[in-house]
């Protein structure tokens, strides 16, 4: 651990950097043109450690024994340097610290990563920099330190306002603590505090869910994420349901919870801008939006995923990349090679288009014609979907819209998107094959 004085000095540097960024920001306020796309990327930082295992979580996370944070920090900064250089992006449009429980990382580490990013690429002063925070590790003073280190948006894992549910989920905080954190966060990050909630828990009723949500909507800020519980293989909750010690959530009930919640949020003035995400006053998450828009992103940290073109190697194709999962191995690799990339797979044009389709339709605006053409200049949305009988059927059922704006789900269609996507993916594949066959 560095001496307190040392870290204050660094924090001071972070503040200085922020003002520098603000100055540069003046020149680049306009929306980037498609041609600028290869020059920028979002950046995700994975902090792989948690204090306690949640019963539902299958993410890449570890309960540390004798964590060497200084090494972790230097590896994160090293990998950020290596991969930004590899991508040759000029601009990092947003940063997201996820995990794991990144609020367990010291603000110093957060600052160090941000400093490195700013040195390697342009990180605008008002670029969104989000930290996922766990109520148990996010007291008021600590949140202030995170803000000082460069964080400007907070996503709090509240999950539930029912203590019994929190125990079932294996969370290490109470509802009261969570609400306390939310209060503090709102003061420090006004308009930039998001909350995560989970629904569809074993034994949860539509009424109890609605009641908890109503209560939260009175206290929350401008961004809410609602996640249906997915029982993941390998988690303790999955096992409990398999063994019958807790009841499996019923499909019909969960569907009802989702529908009721969507309506409540709409009526409270939130825009459902993505399947699970709601915002008012324009407080959309820029970072997450860039995933759904099929933008480039660089992932650093153990198990982080990335999608970018390694232009420094003279490549033109985007690669899907995964970093080594296990933190100790990852660190060794970073120390030896400058990065811990475990898997690289070049993505073909069709593959990129498939992701653009699948991700874009998760948003309320869907895929605009212009947006699609950035990825497929010679195969418009009309070319792909305009003449398909099956797509027409989906339109007739009021699930999907293809019009002058582009392709998007209806309110009803968004809830069954994964069913629609099967038809659309097959249609895309068909059109792509036809186009290749005709040599156009």
């Amino acid at each position: 651990m560095a001496a307190p004085g040392g870290w204050r000095a660094r924090t001071g540097l972070a503040v200085a950097l922020r003002s520098q960024r603000a100055a540069r920001q003046q020149r680049t306020l306009q929306k980037p043109l498609p041609s600028e796309e290869p020059l920028r990327a979002a950046l995700y930082v994975h902090w792989p450690y948690c204090q306690k295992r949640c019963s539902y979580c299958n993410f890449n996370k570890y309960i540390p024994r004798g964590l060497d944070e200084a090494s972790m920090r230097s590896c994160l900064t090293q990998e950020a340097r290596t991969l930004i250089q590899l991508s040759q992006v000029h601009r990092i449009s947003s940063v997201f610290f996820g995990g794991g429980t990144p609020s367990l990382a010291s603000p110093q580490t957060i600052a160090a990563v941000l400093e490195t990013i700013s040195r390697c690429a342009h990180l605008a002063a008002d670029a969104e920099v989000t930290l996922e925070a766990n109520p148990a590790s996010a007291g008021a003073s600590r949140l202030a330190e995170f803000r000082a280190s460069g964080i400007n948006r907070l996503s709090i894992g509240i999950q539930s306002l029912d203590d019994a549910e929190l125990i079932l989920l294996g969370r290490d905080h109470t509802a009261h603590e969570a609400l306390g954190t939310l209060e503090e966060a709102k003061k420090l990050f006004p308009g930039r505090t998001s909350i995560d909630l989970i629904f569809g828990l074993p034994g949860q009723s539509v009424a109890s869910w609605t009641k908890g949500l109503e209560e939260l909507l009175q206290q929350c800020d401008d961004h809410v994420s609602l996640y249906q519980l997915t029982l993941e293989r390998g988690t303790s909750l999955f096992r409990q349901v398999q063994q019958g010690s807790v009841p499996a959530p019923k499909q019909e009930v969960v569907a009802e919870m989702y529908e009721v919640a969507r309506e409540m949020l709409r009526d409270t003035g939130y825009r459902q801008y993505e399947v699970s995400n709601f915002a008012r006053n324009g407080a959309l998450s820029a970072h997450n939006l860039s995933y759904w828009q099929g933008s480039q992103y660089i992932g650093i940290g153990p198990g982080a995923h990335g999608r970018f073109v390694p232009r420094a190697q003279g490549e033109n194709l985007r690669e899907a990349r995964i970093q080594t999962l296990e933190p100790d191995s990852w660190m060794k690799e970073v120390q030896a090679f400058g990065h811990g990339t475990r898997k690289r797979a070049a993505q073909g044009e069709l593959e990129v288009l498939e992701e653009v389709l699948v991700l874009g339709l998760r948003t309320d605006v869907g895929i605009a014609h212009q947006h699609w053409l950035q990825f497929a200049p010679s195969l418009s949305l009309w070319d792909v979907f305009g003449t398909s009988v099956e797509v027409k059927e989906l339109e007739d059922q009021g699930l999907l819209l293809l019009d002058n704006r582009g392709l998007r789900c209806s309110w009803k269609g968004l809830a069954v998107l994964d069913s629609l996507l099967l038809t659309l993916l097959n249609q895309l594949q068909q059109s792509w094959a036809d186009r290749t066959a005709h040599g156009t």
Partner: protein
């Protein structure tokens, strides 16, 4: 011709079959020799100038007389092979050392698990045919399926040499299957014999198959040597079994030999009885290899004769008649050709299976196979899997129904009045039919009397009609019922066992056809009929069958964007219905950087699966749904 020699393995030519029976016993050197050597083997036969009744093994038979003649293939092209370890002269057998009066051809018959194969092991040991070791268990049962199930499927032969009172005897033992499904193998073996050893377990007493096997031997007028086995068991009651034998078979107590095949007790006596009681017969048992190219040229029961020396043909066998049909499809259509070749090879080995190419809209190209019974079907399937590593979808078994046509138009079309309905799609409606017929069997149940009530109830539920009921001793009863065959097809045997704590035994024989109130049931999805799920059922069973099918479909058809009605109908009448609700929510909650790869993989796999689904109207039905409805249900 004789193309088998190059395939010789371990000193014995192997058909793609179990013809290596003799290989284990003692490899015969002459098989690997050239065709010229083979020809030498016809000599003992030709010098005797006798027609040899050939017990054709492994379904491999030989051209009919006229066929051979027409094709201009003289018998010299076929060589008679004797798989037995006969005295040799310069590596060749000298049959003249065994005058016919010193040859005995016999068989061992028994209910399953009564110790038939163990007795065979002992006989082989005593006569020095195989070395005596502890490893000799079911030596003649070579197929994996036989060893696993403890049953004999293919008849096997072995030659034993035994010196009795100074004379060398050649004893040809034919180990036969015990189950009724394989009775064609039994009758084919028995017709090469003049006597049988009838083995009965000293503890279990006479069982259903003992009855069936006894009658086969009795009708063939064979000498019967009753043997009571397992007398070493604690609960052995040989007196009781002797009484049963006396009562049911009219064989005196004195004739029964009490043995323990496991320990070898009194087994020598059995051999001596074979020599004493079984009449000698002018013939040899074995198999021969012919230059035939098509299995269909080989018919069981053919009589062979020397080229240009025709003889009066011996009476033939009744060809095996399939009683149970099932569709067989490759799990993956790309496996079609491999499965085809596996089935061809296996049927070469088991010619009693009938094959018709079939295709199902849902399951693709496949076959409709006819089997002699349910065990036969199971054994065939298991052999395909074990010996040919084929994985198949087997549809629920059906029986061959018949219809007596009344419509002149249909009669003209079929050129006959009575037609057999194998495919439900060909089921003629009741207005053009004077009656429908279903195959029936005469079933025999032998059970301790405490279970009679439950068993009678079970039989009645299966539409069976009682024909007879006799006590075979103080506590055991033999029941005879006429069953519709389809009622015992699926789970009757298991039900019988569970109703009798495992004590009742069951066997059946073909009993022709009876009039039946048959209907065709259709399955509809949102009003559209699913052709491959049409089923012929007895009217009394339609509701239960329809309900079960609808329920299984409900579990197997995934939710879609609209509600799906699943209905079972008779004509325009709906008899069962289930509903698959529409999806209200089907979208992954979390989809960020790390989730994308996994999500794409899952979606693309589902999209690929969607392409393979069969569309019935607007409903997409996965292949698994058809499989779960059509497949044989092993439980329940």
């Amino acid at each position: 011709m004789l193309s088998l020699a190059p395939r010789a393995a371990g000193g014995w030519a192997r058909l793609p079959s179990a013809c290596g029976a003799a290989a284990v016993l003692r490899p015969s050197p002459w098989v690997e020799k050239s065709p010229a050597d083979h020809a030498a083997f016809t000599r003992p036969c030709s010098s005797q100038k006798k027609v040899t009744r050939v017990c054709v093994r492994n379904g491999y038979s030989f051209g009919r007389l006229d066929l051979l003649g027409r094709r201009g293939s003289p018998l010299a092209h076929a060589s008679v092979f004797c798989p037995f370890n006969l005295p040799k002269y310069k590596g060749k057998l000298d049959m003249s050392l065994f005058p016919v009066e010193n040859i005995r051809n016999f068989s061992i018959i028994a209910h399953v698990d009564h110790g038939k194969s163990t007795l065979a092991d002992r006989l082989l040991e005593i006569t020095g045919t195989i070395a005596k070791t502890d490893q000799n268990k079911q030596v003649l049962d070579k197929l994996q399926v036989e060893r696993e199930r403890g049953i004999t499927v293919k008849a096997q032969t072995a030659s034993l040499f035994y010196n009795y009172e100074g004379i060398n005897y050649l004893l040809n033992l034919i180990d036969t299957p015990g189950h009724v499904d394989f009775s064609y193998e039994v009758s084919r073996s028995l017709s090469a014999c003049q006597g049988v050893i009838l083995v009965v377990d000293a503890n279990e007493g006479i069982q259903a198959q003992t009855m069936a096997n006894f009658y086969l031997a009795f009708e063939a007028q064979l000498a019967i040597i009753p043997v009571i086995n397992k007398i070493d068991l604690k609960n052995a009651d040989p007196e009781r079994v002797e009484k049963q034998i006396e009562k049911l078979f009219d064989l005196s107590k004195e004739e029964c030999i009490r043995i323990s095949a496991k320990l070898g007790t009194n087994v020598e006596k059995v051999l001596q009885e074979v020599i004493e009681k079984v009449p000698p017969y002018a013939g040899q048992v074995g198999y021969l290899i012919a230059g035939m190219k098509e299995v269909t040229e080989a018919q069981i029961g053919d009589t062979l004769y020397l080229h240009k020396q025709p003889v009066e043909p011996l009476p033939g066998f009744k060809s095996a008649k399939p009683m149970v049909f099932a569709g067989m499809y490759p799990v993956d259509q790309s496996e079609y050709n491999n499965l085809k070749s596996a089935i061809e090879k296996l049927t070469l080995n088991d010619s009693s299976v009938t094959i018709h190419r079939d295709s199902s809209l849902a399951l693709g190209a496949g076959w409709r196979l006819g089997f002699l019974g349910l065990l036969h079907l199971e054994v065939f399937n298991q052999r395909l899997e074990q010996e040919y590593n084929a994985s198949v979808i087997l549809t629920a078994p059906t029986v061959p129904y018949k219809a007596v046509l009344s419509s002149p138009k249909l009669i003209k079309e079929h050129r006959k009045e009575e037609i057999t309905i194998i495919n439900p799609a060909e089921f003629p409606d009741k207005f053009s039919v004077s009656e429908y017929l279903e195959p029936i069997v005469l079933g025999t149940v032998i059970t301790p009397d405490e279970y009679i009530g439950k068993i009678i109830t079970l039989c009645q539920a299966r539409r069976a009609v009682q024909k007879d009921m006799v006590y075979i001793d103080e506590h055991r009863v033999m029941l005879k019922y006429i069953f519709p065959l389809n009622e015992i097809l699926v789970d009757f045997y298991d039900a019988l066992k569970s109703h009798s704590s495992g004590y009742a035994s069951f066997d059946y024989e073909d009993a022709g056809y009876q009039t039946a109130d048959l209907v065709k049931m259709d399955i509809l999805l949102n009003g559209n009929s699913v052709e491959e799920l049409g089923t012929v059922v007895h009217k009394d069973k339609a509701y239960a069958v329809g309900k079960a099918m609808c329920e299984r479909l409900k579990d197997a058809i995934p939710r879609q964007l609209f509600e799906i009605a699943i209905q079972a109908t008779l004509g325009s009448k709906v008899i069962a219905r289930e509903t698959v609700k529409a999806y209200r929510k089907n979208v992954l909650a979390k989809c960020y950087g790390g989730d994308i790869t996994r999500k794409m993989k899952l979606l693309k796999r589902q999209a690929e699966g969607k392409k393979k689904m069969r569309k019935i109207g607007n409903v997409e039905v996965p292949k698994d749904a058809f499989i779960s409805v059509l497949k044989r249900q092993s439980e329940k």
